[in-house]
Every structure is written in structure tokens, then in C-alpha cells.
Amino acid sequence: MDFDLEELASIIELLDKADFRHFSFEKGDLRITVSRDGNVPPDLAAPAAPAATAAAPVRAATVPAAPAGLRTPVKTPASAPARTAVEPDEGEIVITAPLLGTFYRAPKPGEPPYVEIGDKVEPDSVLCIVEVMKLMNSVPAGVSGEVTKVFAGDGELVEFGGPLFAVRTIA
């Protein structure tokens, strides 16, 4: 293998001594993630930087658990989203809600939406607004790419960590 086993060993030893719940390390093409509990807080999994590696966590965070077939499985906390099964395709990453609120695709009612499917976006392009008690929070793409899916409906309540858009990143 093209890495130093000694190094990995000492890293593991170090981590073992350290007191933490979640540990994530990225450098170049190196990525280490260690977790000591069953559920990783989405803010950990959220796209911190527009690094391609960050795609993985977000993508996985939206994989529906229960078979979306039958009506009733949608009950336990570990159940699938009600309306859309969020299945990002290869090379897509999901942009999630940074906070709970109402999802708006346009700056004002009647105005054209910030983005449509097919639009190209840059990391700082605004994709939508999440309104919390009249406070408008614009959500930037965080990555470069093309908008391929819209998961939330205009004017709908989105939860913290809830899926908003899928963006195909430019390789």
C-alpha cells in the first residue's frame, strides 16, 4: 500500500487516547473519519468546504432508510422522507438546509427563482432562501456545478439538514 502503516498505527493510537465523539481529517487525497456514536450530527456531515470529498457525507445523509414502498414504514425516526425519495446520482451532491425554516426559491413572490434545474452555479451562488420567523437566510451552493434536482417545494417547511437541491459537480 502506498502509505505508511506506522503512521496510521500511531494515528489510531492517538485517537484512541483522545476524548471525542466524531473525528474527521482531510489532507489532499487523505481522509480519515472516526466516530464514537451511532449518529453523526449533520453539521459534521454538511458540506463545510466545496471539496469533492465532502460530497460523500451529504450524499449519504439523504439515503432513505425504510423501503419507501409501503405506507406505514414512514413512522420511526429512521424513516424515509415523505414526498421524494432523495437518491442523488453518481457525481451529484445534495445541498441541505443549514437551519429549519420555510423554503423559498425566489427572492420575492412572483419573481423568477434563484435557480432552475440545468442552471450552472458557483460556490457563492444563492440557491434559495430559508425563512425563519421573517428572517431570510440565503443558502449558497458551496460547490460549482449544475443544478440537477429540487427536493423541497416552494413555501414548504424544511428541517435542519433536510435536502434542498442536488448539484452535479464539475469534475
Binding site: 456514536d37 449533520p42 453539521d43 425516526p77 420555510t102 425563519v132 439538514g161
Partner: protein, 460 residues
Amino acid sequence: MSRQADRVRQRVFVANRGEVALRIVEACDRLGFETVLGVSSADRDTLAARRAGQVVVLGGPHATGSYLSIPSVLHAAISTGCTAVHPGYGFLSERADFARECAANGLTFVGPSPEALETLGDKLSARELAESLGVPVSAGGYAASVAEAAELAARIGYPVLIKAAYGGGGRGMKLVESDAGLAEAWAPASAEAEAAFGDGTVFLERYVTDAKHVEVQILGDRHGNRIHLGERECSVQYRYQKMIEEAPCAALPQATRERLHDSALRIARALDYVGLGTVEFLYDVRRDELSFLEVNPRLQVEHPVTEAVTGVDLVREQLLAALGEPLSVRQENVRLSGHAIQARITAQDPCHLLRPSPGTVKRWRPPVGGGLRLDSHIYEGYDFPPFYDALMGKLVAWGPDRASAVARLGDALADFEIGGVTTSRDLLRSITRHGDFLAGTVTTHWLNDRFNDLLGDRNE
């Protein structure tokens, strides 16, 4: 025709977590109310989340972004069509601004009026209210300067406490023994209060060295009915954290008990109090003297001991009172029966000064015997998170008298199998077997003093 059809279908937003969220959901279920639970992203797998009618993720694991975020909670409650908000205890339960926002948005806040919350949030104004009603308070009061403070202290006599007006529950207090100490502590105390509570107001109070913590459960409705449901004793505390609570307080002479209840009702009346509240006092056993501490305008962690001796479902009464129903019980119908004791089982390590010990609960096998009640959100395999308080469950034992209730609690703690996390179970058990506790002579500093001896007793 369904009772529901007669009135608005209630949907209650539960703005809390842990065992109290479960308690509230259960009470709503039985009343036919729908529930919506707001959780942090770390609380998706809690038992309350499994029980609630609907669950919304408010924010990340840290309470500031979820359970303490007023805009998030309000937005979630409004957009899920809730009619009322139950704040539980802690978090937003005593926030007057939150209560106002609820009202402004057509949500019934399950608690007293914002005005009451404001008066009671300021411990100095609460003290002044009590004084004005002839409720006993310990000597002390406001001082504008060190000079004034020293003068006041001279009258009171040392030791004295410097208390932050917006502290409470043991927070924002300084004990000083002399003029020198006072002069030294005064400025910092105010500065710290400013930093911690956004208000530097402090006041002085005589320090009662050896007292029991007693408190009265009050309950009011929107029709002018206000009753008390007897008192509780919560003297077993470690650094102001209550660990064992009981009802009634066996050490009180009947005359003092009546004075206590009457004082609590006076305060309730003055505030036109709606819902559940607890009026806290210190009781100096030697002098047979009561002194007002503060009012907790919310559901209390130790409410089950009062339910056990009165038979009244406090959470149900609180919900219905907030929604405008008259109380289902009158003062003359409040009959006390037997004695009840509650032990707070926490994920804390007694061998390390009760530091938090989160982790996966691998075994959770509570006893189910008669006279026992357990309020808990724990299940086997549950990952106890590090982000919140350490309470795992409240084990309540009832008996016809104090001795039998204590014995039952001790046996139940012994039979309680918990694995995977270190808990306070054994410490609690050794307290229930200690001579001082059995004799009922424990005062609020007892556990702080005896802590290490009790650890020795842990393994039998």
C-alpha cells in the same frame, strides 16, 4: 359524538427532550391531543421521537441551535399547525420573551403569563413581592454600592450571600464572611452577573447555614382557582443539584406547614398564577424558621412525588389549565396519602465528582414492583448523548409512611440493572441507607460534606 368534535383539535408542540418530553407526549396522547416534537439532530432516535405524532429537526446537537433557538421552535410550531407549546423544564420554560412570542403567534404557552415570568425571573423583585405579601424572607435586600452593602451586612450579620438578581437555582451566588470579603467580592459579583445574565444587579441575603430545602406545589387556572398540592423536601443536593426529593416534608411542624402553604398561595394569588409553579423556601429546623427563596414558574423535575401522594396528574392539569379548562380538583379535595420519594438516576460518575459519563446503554432492566414508578426515556442500546443534562430516569417509590417508601426505593435501586454507562445508582442507594437520611435530619449541605463517606459504602 366525539369530545374532540366539541372543540378545537389540540396539537401540542413539545419544546423539550428526554424523560420530560416523553411525559408530556404521554399526557397529550391520553387527552387525545396530537403532538409535534422538536428535536436536535442528535435526538432523532430518542424514545420521545418514536412516540410523538410528528418529529421535526430543529437544529444541530448543541441546544443553542435547537432547543434554545426561539425562532426555530416558533417557526416549527407554527408551520406544523400547533395550537399550544409545552416548554417542559429548563431550556425555554422560563423565558418571558418566548411566552410573548407564542401569544403573538396564536400559540398557547403552557405556563404562566409573561408578566409573571418577568417578575419571578428577577429574584430581587420576586423577593420584594414576597416581602410585600408578608411572606418570610431571610434578612437582606438591594444595595447600590459596596458602602451600602457593608452597612446592610453589618445589620444582617455575616456570613451573607451576594446574589445575582437574574441568577437562581444556585447560579450567581457568592458567600462572604467579612467586610473584607464583601469589599473584595462585590464588584466581581456584579460583573459576573452582568456577563452571565446580562444584568449586573445583585443583592444581599443572610446565609442560612443549616437548612432544609422545602417547596410548595401550586396550581392555578384561568378562572381564578388557585390551589396548593402540599410541599416537597429536596435537601439531598450536591452543589445545588437535587438528587433525592420527597413528599411530604416529614420534619415540618403542622403550624409551620400551614404557614408555608399559605405563603405559597399568597404569591400565587398576587400573580393571578395560571398553571404549575413551585415556591421554594429554606427551612431552618433549629429556629423553626422559613425563608422564601424563589418561584419556579414551570413543571418541576420532582413533580411525580406530589402526584404519588395526591393522585393528581399535574401535567394533565397544567395542559388543561393553560387551554382554559377549570381545575378538576378543589383545595378541599386534595387529600394526601402516604409518602413518596424520588431518586434521580443520572449518567454521572460518583467516583469522579459526578462528572458526566455518556455512552451506549447496554443494559436497562428496571424493576416494576408495586408502589414504584419510573419516568425515563432510556432503552437498551440507546446512545446517551454528551450534549445535554445527565438525567436518565426518575425512580419514584410510594409507601404508606416514609420508612416504607425509603425501604422500597432502596430495594428497587438494588434490583435496577444498568449496564454500559456509569450512573449515580449506587450513590443514591447508599444515601437511602444512611442513618442521617433515615432520621430525616439531612440539610442542603449534608451531601457535600458526606460525599466521600458515602462512596465508601457503595459496594456491600
